[in-house]
Subunit: 201 residues, 4 copies
């Protein structure tokens, strides 16, 4: 039974990897070469480039943690598949948001919406974690690993704050978003512990 | 022999996953950021966004069921490979249709054509199922699983109806399409039974 | 040693599948929704749609045969990897050619160039086959399978003919291209025999 | 423990393959069909086509060597995952750079920036190699394989030179870039030796 589950998980991972690989790469299509060939026309791309870097890091963080969380799970079911598609849906809006916020870096609504999509990504990730918890059971190593969930909750609070702050100053929202990126850039050690345990078993 | 078949199936699945991952993601390229930065310019994107959500769900449903059906099959052959490419062809029109219907949500012909492409997707899926049935044989667990085929036939009828109704009211077609989505959002339990059986064997 | 080779081949297949999946799907990006919503504005897309269908079939044929040929080979080496990238390069021009010939279906030069790219695809495929033959050796089952190479040579002759005929009538070139598609649509039975043999061994 | 590591590596490879497959293919989207249908309008695409060929070869070289380096490694860790995403980030700028340099092949700044991105790719690759070295340990076969690192250092020097020379003559930079491509087009034999060793073990 375990092996079968494992194969199911692998195709889910492979499909998610494919979607995330396309998302992370097509974002660059909005980085259009400038018409001129001088440094000044290049520098006009800086906000779009900065938005691209930030979105690349976020999608990278999600790929990284998605990878760790699925590997720590003993299997998946139909609800996990839809929770995963739900997460991929919100992640797929990254190119759109990056393009809009890159074109208007100091406008309140694009920045607020950027934070809102990040918030929906974080919520979708939390839902996926909950469906995986149901598959693994309350006494599983998976359940123990996510016992302390502050790391998933902090971004949700900060993104919500970022939506509001965008109407005060978009710089403040940008700082909050960068803070979350720094917190999450290190993959979830909790899951690494389980993976290590199972590997040596 | 079984192992070999299984590997063939895996590459077919991997290729299909790749194509579907690209289809589901490039649809978002038609969601162009508005020129303005106010809520009004954002709200003008609503029909395109709604079309994107609906198409994302449909492509997700196909991926999900494709996944289940192929896992329940004991192998593939040359005809299955072409039936699969045929399905991928009609699915690949999703970005085009989504873009057109999103730009003209209340026009009869775009909505009718959207239903027509969904109809061709459903027929292509039925053909793929038939070719897989030929590989598995009439007495296989696969054949038993698809004995009651109403779930595959209902969408075909509803989409055909949707094409006609688009010329009366596009809202009616939209409702039919959403009804089919709800019916299909739950993956096919019939195949899950076989997969479970084989796993415990 | 065999297992290792096999894993190498699998990553080559996986990468090729990824590239081909993107090629086959991004071609649809040139099928832009018409500005109008009537049948007349839709019918103006017919040449582009026809070019898309034809290119989809060609890329599908290459994927299908590539799949069969690699599975029949006992391994790969550095030259195979570059011969494979070379084939992917010419296949990657399919979206460009489809777009140009779709916009000007009766112009001589786009049609001639379309045939020229198909010719280069066929030559690249023949080169890949030759490098695989070197890996497998002259006495291998792989070598026996490709002893009669007419199926690979006929398209090369027909495409070359198609380039010239485009300057007489693009319809004649179109017919030749469709004839090749029909010849190749059935996957190479020669390789299927080897795969079957090895599976039962 | 080894098997587990190996699976980790495989998902990293699969994701990298996905991203590289998208990068290498979407570059072709900037090769827009000319409006005219004569040879003259086609010849105006030559610089863009040449830039596409060169970038395709570079991305192909990275895929090829990335493949060999990861296969020679006994595993990965969190730092390797980020070093790998860092490499993918700079590679993802290839479509942007190809498009800009293709539109202005003789302008100093686009050519200098093209060399600069190639330099950052090379540095990112060197960093990835260093993180893999840390995983494998100083006495590993991996460490021995990279003892002589001139092949990684020569491009770094040549690209840096290419940035400067672009302001003298872009032809000189182009020659340097082509020289590096020729040096690297043959995959790293050092890693092939390890792979061979382990396979026969």
């Amino acid at each position: 039974m375990r092996a079968r589950f494992s194969t199911e998980t692998e195709r889910l991972e492979a499909f998610s990897d494919g979607v995330i690989a396309v998302i992370i790469t097509i974002m660059v299509l909005d980085l259009r070469p400038p018409l001129g060939t001088d440094l000044k026309s290049l520098s006009s791309l800086l906000p779009t480039f900065a938005a691209y870097v930030l979105s690349f890091i976020f999608v990278g963080i999600y790929w990284n943690n998605h990878h760790h969380m699925l590997r720590a799970s003993s299997g998946i079911d139909g609800r996990v598949m839809w929770a995963n598609l739900h997460l991929l849906f919100w992640l797929s809006l990254a190119p759109f948001m990056t393009s809009w916020v890159g074109a208007h870096p100091t406008a309140a609504i694009p920045t607020a919406l950027y934070c809102a999509v990040l918030l929906l990504d974080a919520i979708a990730y939390a839902i996926l974690q909950t469906t995986l918890l149901a598959v693994n059971g309350a006494d599983s190593p998976f359940a123990q690993a996510i016992a302390s969930r502050w790391k998933g909750r902090v971004p949700i609070v900060l993104y919500a704050l970022g939506i509001g702050l965008a109407f005060v100053s978009t710089i403040l929202s940008d700082i909050l978003v960068i803070v979350v990126a720094i917190i999450w850039i290190v993959p979830d050690r909790r899951f690494e512990a389980i993976i290590g345990q199972e590997s040596s078993a």
